[in-house]
Symmetry: C2
Subunit: 540 residues, 2 copies
């Protein structure tokens, strides 16, 4: 039911002029054409006609490429963003000409969790260390002490000695041993349970790790992966690319996007009835786009469900530092939960993902991340290693940012106080902006938005007038996509329609980050409110 509502947001901007008339013939025509041109036979008029109908002048057409690529959708950078980038060019023109072509002066990219694009400052210590490791000759500069604090210099020296004094060499496939060790120690401190550096794989952001594990798990459509609805479209897109089956389980919007095991059971049974073997369960905690945080009891139920049903647990925990209800629902990792449940549960097959892109680090452009495997046999681990090797290694600078994230300056070191101040400012400000945006959204006609517990997004439900729904359908758009395009064209604010994440049939949402700066966010709220009032008025 909810699968249908993962509406296709086509990114195709133009269509092929040589239209293929008969797609069925096209599938075999290429080979036939080749065979005949190969044999240099004279083709009959009728054969020639088939070619003219069925083959394009081009070798690659939408009918010859991998159909899974065509059907995969990724709305976070889909139609809306492509349109926003086009508008951005118009704005540049507007600026250069001093003309007024658009009713706004800038695009506000709220479509993606990209804090530094919206002016979040990187942490000083991180960048000072990077600056030095990129250019080790600075270590011999007589002004060195006047440029960088002593702990930055010490850290850079330590890193350099562990990477053969250059960031320019491939590391081992799994990652730089120093960083693997730092990550394991971080996990141990966080969870109070041992972690083994040999079970860590560094990755170019969390996405690459997720894609690798899904590749490992999926053979064909008979393998299914349970994913939340709404979900982050990396999952739906990758499952589709690898020709697997998406098994959506609905989060309960009425219960603050709560995860109910009965929904897992339902989706699981439906899969079995279709002859699909569920292989893994994806949990995004804190949720994306929904922002909910799981409590321990709920997590234990999920672990039991996985164990009972022989499912690998994929724990997407990239928002673990973005929790705004720390007092009532502090972040708990699934690794900690399985270890504390003990017995067979402790060795549950599980992969946890983390990233430098989110939290207060926000170093998206660095593409740094890691995954930790738990309970996975060594022969399967060797396959994960091989997949990592085919990609050679994660980028080294990104690996080093992981090291800095999990091992920030210690208490007493010269950079510690500044680090803490910067970190806390970012966190406090994010929390304040989340609350502000939430309040603004809830004040709109027909809009409800659950309180933000975590992550970087609001995912309000918008109840659209029937006239707007009809108008959208007339334009071949999902109703929420139609709403979001109108919002973009009117205000320059770029958000992502709920249909890109999946949503309960008949409901409409959008996802917006709360990342615009404190100076900007009130303006964003006002613009959304004005647009919304006009939109509702227009279609009432």
């Amino acid at each position: 039911m909810f699968k249908r509502s993962l509406v296709l947001l086509s990114t195709t901007t133009t269509t092929n002029t040589t239209k293929i008339v008969n797609p069925a013939a096209a599938a075999t025509a290429n080979a036939t054409f080749n065979q005949i041109s190969q044999k240099k036979k004279k083709t009959s008029k009728k054969q020639q006609q088939i070619f003219n109908m069925a083959t394009s002048k081009k070798f690659m057409t939408l009918d010859t490429i991998c159909p899974n690529v065509k059907s995969a959708q990724y709305a976070v950078r889909g139609e809306l963003v492509i349109r926003a980038e086009a508008l951005s060019h118009t704005l540049q023109k507007q600026k250069a000409e001093g003309s007024k072509l658009l009713p706004f002066d800038e695009i506000v990219y709220c479509n993606i969790g990209n804090p530094q694009q919206l002016k979040q400052k990187p942490l000083t210590y991180f960048r000072q260390v990077l600056s030095l490791v990129e250019c080790p000759e600075l270590l011999d500069n007589p002004y060195l002490d006047k440029i960088f604090p002593a702990d930055v210099i010490g850290r850079a020296k330590q890193i350099l000695s562990s990477i053969n004094f250059t960031t320019g060499a491939y590391s081992s496939s799994q990652g730089i041993p120093l960083v693997l060790k730092s990550v394991a120690e971080f996990i141990e401190r966080r969870d109070g349970h041992p972690a083994d550096p040999n079970n860590i794989f560094l990755t170019d952001g969390a996405s690459v790790g997720v894609q690798r594990i899904l590749k490992l798990l999926i053979k064909d459509r008979s393998d299914g992966i349970l994913i939340p609805i709404p979900q982050y479209p990396l999952y739906s897109a990758t499952i589709e690319l690898y020709n697997g089956s998406q098994l959506g389980y609905l989060l309960n919007e009425e219960k603050n996007w709560g995860l109910e095991v009965s929904e897992l059971e339902k989706s699981y049974k439906e899969a079995l009835a279709k002859g699909i073997t569920p292989r893994a369960l994806v949990i995004i905690n804190p949720g994306n786009p929904t922002g909910q945080c799981l409590d321990r009891k709920n997590m234990e139920e999920i672990v039991e469900f996985c164990h009972k049903n022989r499912l690998v647990l994929l724990a997407d925990e990239v928002y673990q530092e973005n929790v705004y209800v720390k007092e009532t629902k502090p972040f708990i990792s699934f690794k900690k939960v399985v270890k504390e449940m003990g017995g067979d549960y402790a060795d549950l097959e599980m992969v946890s993902f983390h990233s430098v892109s989110k939290g207060f680090v926000g170093e998206c452009g660095k593409r740094g991340g890691y995954m930790e495997i738990n309970g996975i046999e060594s022969d399967i681990k060797a396959e994960i290693y091989k997949l990592a090797s085919i990609g050679l290694c994660p980028n080294v600078t990104g690996q080093l940012v992981v090291d800095l994230m999990v091992r920030p300056p210690a208490k007493g070191e010269p950079s510690h106080d500044l680090y803490v101040k910067e970190r806390d400012n970012i966190y406090d400000s994010l929390k304040a902006r989340a609350l502000l945006l939430n309040k603004a959204l809830n004040s709109l006609e027909g809009v409800t938005c659950n309180p933000p517990e975590g992550a970087m997004y609001a995912f309000p439900q918008i109840r659209l007038p029937q006239k707007a729904v009809d108008e959208a359908k007339k334009n071949g758009k999902a109703p929420d996509a139609y709403y979001c395009i109108q919002l973009l064209e009117a205000t320059g604010i770029c958000v992502v329609p709920g249909s890109g994440f999946g949503q309960k049939d008949g409901t409409y949402h959008f996802r917006t980050t709360f990342l615009p700066s404190e100076e900007a966010i009130e303006g964003v709220c006002t613009k959304i409110a004005d647009f919304h009032a006009n939109f509702m008025n227009k279609y009432k």
Copy 2:
């Protein structure tokens, strides 16, 4: 014929203790088990027996995971390297204890083109710019002028203003516009023909680009990709991962690894006979592992072959700066060739790949690269864009290294002379080392090695005594893999067996880089010679 010789180099280091007795039953047992446990039916004794036989305690086993992952092979970081890393740990122990556990003091990694691992220095200008863009606060440092030359400061400011003053934000999926423009201008200068920034996609190294295009091209086993034999195993591994068909065409070792169109024709016809549609032709120029450089006439034949047979041309040109026969066979890009052939050829569907990892830049750890598309319809380009979007963006530091590679300091700028000196030193030294290694290899009994025209590798043929071949087979190893393991255990020199790249049946090779430093390479040659003499003597 040659397909069989792509011998599997298993990376599996341990085996599952819970052995699955009946793999056929195992395939369905997971689902059945789930169905029954779901229904909470009491299972019969016989059913229980099937489970005990067929299911492992673990959910993921070599029988349940994607079979393409299992069958894909990547020897460049396979068994040999895993063993080398284990030996490296022993060496550390040896050093710490002052003991002598192994007959050598260091591992020399000649398995992979990783120049900076073997002490090649990064280019000064590149790293100075990176240092500054990572830490823009340095721009306000009163000592700035004493630290960096003026052109470095100018370049950093220009880059920063184009990326919102931070390397920490996701760029657009295709890459930073400034860098796309630099790349297009570089191609224009190189080829003398226009290039469009909109046809450039930045990638995390060339590998990611290759993988994306292969994903686009391959639907299932009925789609074939023509690849050279020997080839770089990224191609064979990726085609296998995506469930396509490898169509090998043999390079002619007797003619200096020449590419003969008759071999392309042969492989193409064999594919058609099997019902496989060839979709694309991979050309690696200069060759990897073979090092040959194509001349223009040969390239024109290849373009004609693609055009006639409706094949997308994938031009792997990552070694374009590593040409040691510039006078007789300068590097010519396929883009230039198709444009100068004109007519329909000019719009041949083609993707060219380049990287910052090779040439004299050698910044492997940065994972920077680009691909240029040619003649590809906009609807297909939209699909490539979508695949890039699912990965969010290439790492920003890597993108900036691409910018530096294609736009080094200009004549007259303060950093220009040093840049030229460093560049030429690296090039001259690589060429000298290539010749030295080639001579040393050709002096060995039963070894022949074609003269190095390009790239970073020697790929000698080794004629092994029958006794050695038999001994290898007794040990379940490909004969050349057996030779390479012995070499590693005796000398610490890590090379890759020819079986990892594919080779003509009954011939044996290995690939070694010529990257050890000038001080080290003579020692490497001597060690190989001593080992080889002993090996031949032992098995004669």
